[in-house]
Each structure stands twice: as structure tokens, then as C-alpha cells.
């Protein structure tokens, strides 16, 4: 008797343990599923409101163009769509720079220039990533290359106070130069000494 009792107890304990384990496993999976569903819902939800809620937010930016009369950059203000982030606004501002002047100023960038992405880092460096067209669609001399670089750098740094320096990338990578002159390996400080008063 005593012997059989001793044999049953461990079997019971084992069975209980298995049941507890099974319950835990079921809770884990169903709970996890619910969590995942909730996460998916959260991810989908916020995308809709900003588009619907803030189309009216506009921001005035200053762009830098060339003039035929002197070697300086000239300011022109423009309204762009605001938000959602400063990086998006910077991209809109640069798109306007590519589009060209509404007065008779010259755009320092090729008309085909594509802006792939703008990212403003926490360190105050804005990374502007252009498509190949900025290199392929123009034969730069020193003056036109300096104008292209500093129009971009000044446009981003002037309008977004968190930006201290601007780095220029092409197709997501660091390039030596746009056309054999200006060194793109270091981020640029803005230079307003070449801007007309």
C-alpha cells in the first residue's frame, strides 16, 4: 500500500505541472496574439489623422538663388506645406529650390535634381540625400559647384534652427564631389557672407 501511494504522488505532481505549463503556454500565445494585434492597430491608426488634421499648416521659408548681376546668393521667400517633422519641411524647402525662382533669379541646381531624403540628426547635422541627377545633369565649374552646395547648405541651415551643419550625400552614399571641386566628405557650416544683403 505504502509503496503504491508513493508511486502515485509523483505522477500527480507531474500531471499538475503539465497542466500548469499548458495553461501558461496558452496564455502566452493568445496574450501575445492580442498584443500583436493591438500593436498593428496602433501602427495603422496614427497615419490617418495628420493628413486629415494639418493640411492648413504652412511655413514660410527663405531660399537662396543666383542672380545674373553679381556672384552672390539672393534670398527669396516661399510658403511650403508644414510638418510633420523638420526633416520633411526641409525636404519641401529644397524641392522649391530645385523648382526655381518665382522672380527672375537662377536656380543653382539642375532642374532634374531629385531629393531622396532629408534627415536632421540630434547632433545638429542635416543629411541631404540627392539622386544621381544632381551630378549627371550639369557640368560644374568651381563657381557653379560652390553655388549649388551653399544654396543647399544655407537654405537648410537658415530655416531650421536645430541645424548647425549640412552634409550632402548622393544616392545614399558619400561622394567625393559633385563635379570635381567642392569636398563633400565633411558637413558644411552655412556661409552667409556670399549672400546679398
Amino acid at each position: 500500500m505504502a509503496k503504491s501511494k508513493n508511486n502515485i504522488k509523483p505522477a500527480l505532481v507531474l500531471a499538475l505541472l503539465l497542466i500548469v505549463l499548458a495553461v501558461l503556454v496558452i496564455i502566452f500565445f493568445t496574450g501575445g496574439e492580442r498584443e500583436r494585434v493591438r500593436r498593428r492597430a496602433e501602427a495603422a491608426a496614427p497615419k490617418a489623422p495628420p493628413q486629415a488634421a494639418e493640411p492648413a499648416a504652412r511655413k514660410t521659408v527663405t531660399l537662396f538663388f543666383l542672380s545674373d548681376d553679381d556672384d552672390l546668393l539672393h534670398r527669396e521667400t516661399r510658403e511650403i506645406a508644414g510638418g510633420p517633422s523638420a526633416s520633411d519641411e526641409a525636404q519641401h524647402a529644397l524641392a522649391e529650390l530645385v523648382k526655381g525662382s518665382e522672380k527672375s533669379l537662377l536656380s543653382p541646381l539642375p532642374a532634374e535634381t531629385r531629393i531622396r531624403q532629408v534627415f536632421i540628426g540630434k547632433d545638429g547635422v542635416a543629411y541631404v540625400d540627392f539622386g544621381r541627377e544632381i551630378i549627371d545633369k550639369f557640368s560644374y565649374g568651381s563657381s557653379s559647384e560652390l553655388a549649388a552646395v551653399y544654396a543647399v547648405v544655407d537654405t537648410v541651415a537658415f530655416n531650421f534652427k536645430s541645424v548647425k551643419k549640412v552634409a550632402i550625400l548622393v544616392e545614399g552614399a558619400e561622394k567625393e564631389t559633385l563635379g570635381g571641386h567642392v569636398d563633400l566628405s565633411q558637413p558644411f557650416l552655412p556661409d552667409y557672407s556670399i549672400v546679398a544683403k
Binding site: S139, G141, S143, G179, H181, Q186, F188, L189
Partner: protein, 256 residues
Amino acid sequence: MLFLLAVFARPALSQPAADAGARCGPEAAKRRTVVIDPGHGGIELGAKGKLGTFEKDITLAIALKLKALIEKNMAFQVVLTRDRDMDVAVENRSAIANNQKADLFISIHTNGSRQKSANGSETFFLSTGATPDEETRRLAYLENNSSRIEDHVDKKSEEDVKMILWDMAQTAYIRQSSQLAEMIQAELNSLLGTRDRGIKQAPFKVLTGVACPAVLVEAAFISNPEEEKELVTDEFQSSVAEAVYRGLAKYLQVYP
């Protein structure tokens, strides 16, 4: 002529022991070197003129004339970063200068602008993207540590240090570079008759990392049809070469 004699006389006076034959003998390796860099080349055309002229062709023509002038009149070895129409990465141009242990580096360009009316000549030396504060700190670091660095760094950080030194190489020569630029610019003004755009600083890739005084000459605008017509002539190209040569000679009076 007197002036040319003076240029020749200087090395002879400062090295009285060296006999006349030394220059051609084993001493030849110690001959001072100027590296001339004809801008662009190969698939890299540089700026384009309205009449179809490429910057790369004009810079090569001027550089070849300048090489001939220097070799004829000065005790310098002249090395070109390219002597024909070929691709040379910008970074390799400064590497050529450093591998040759160049004493001077002169990059030849003709300018291009989106403004048709842009005209004139200018001479550049390097500006870095650093703020004046960073510049001062870099310079102080370089002055205090350059001799120690070689002995005290482990293999792993050696490459990093080399990269930092490469970045800073030109910083140590900024003063001489600006003087060389000034002297060349004065000669461009008097010989070419182009508008004086002065000496300027810019972050040009070809000048970073050059471990000797280095300048970049922009002789006239190929994008300006009037100046493009001048740039294609043998006469104008010779004048540019002559102006750079005279500026170089003046510089050597100050830094023999």
C-alpha cells in the same frame, strides 16, 4: 634676367658644398618638386563652354606649358598629376603630391558659372568646414603632437591618426598657401587683363590632404563665351602659364 639669376643663385649660396654636378647625380632625388594638377580629365569634363570647349582640355594645355616654363628656368622637378586626357580621382591627385614629397602644389582650372556674364580670374587656397575654434584646436594639436604621434600610437589607432593628419595636412600650410595665391593672382591680373576676382578660400577636395603649400588657379570663365574664345587660343594659355610661373618665382624669393 637679374631676377632669374637671383633664383638660381640662392640654392647655390645656401649649399656651398654642393658642386655643379650634384644636381644630376645621386643628389637628384633631393631636387625640389612642384606638382602641377591639370583639373578634371577623362570622363570628367569639368565645366563646359557654350561653344563646346571642355575645361579638362584647357587645363591640360596650360599645365603642359607651365611645366615646360618651370623646367626651362628653375631648378625644380615638375610632376603632372596627368599628362594626357585620362581619369584621375581627385583624392589621388593630392596623394601624388604627397608621394612625390612635393614642395608646392598648383591645380589649374578654368571657371564655370550658371551666369553667362560671370567673368574674371581668381586663385583659391583651402578653407575647411571647421569653425575657427575647431581650426585653432586642430592646429594646436598638430603642432604639439605631430612628432610624438608616430612613436606612441598602437597599430589599431594608427590608421585613424593618419586619417586625422591627412585631414589636417593642409591646415599647417595655410599661411604659405595664401601668400602663393596672392602672388599668382597679382600676375594673372597684370598679364591676362581679366577681371580681378581676388584670392578666396574654398573647401576644394583636391587641396585637402596636400602636405605642402597648395593653390587652385581659376583662369577666366569657360562658361562666358567671350572668355571661352580667349581660353582656346595658344596665346592666352601661354599667358596663364607665364602668370603662374612668375607668381611662383616671386613666392620663391620669399620662401627660397
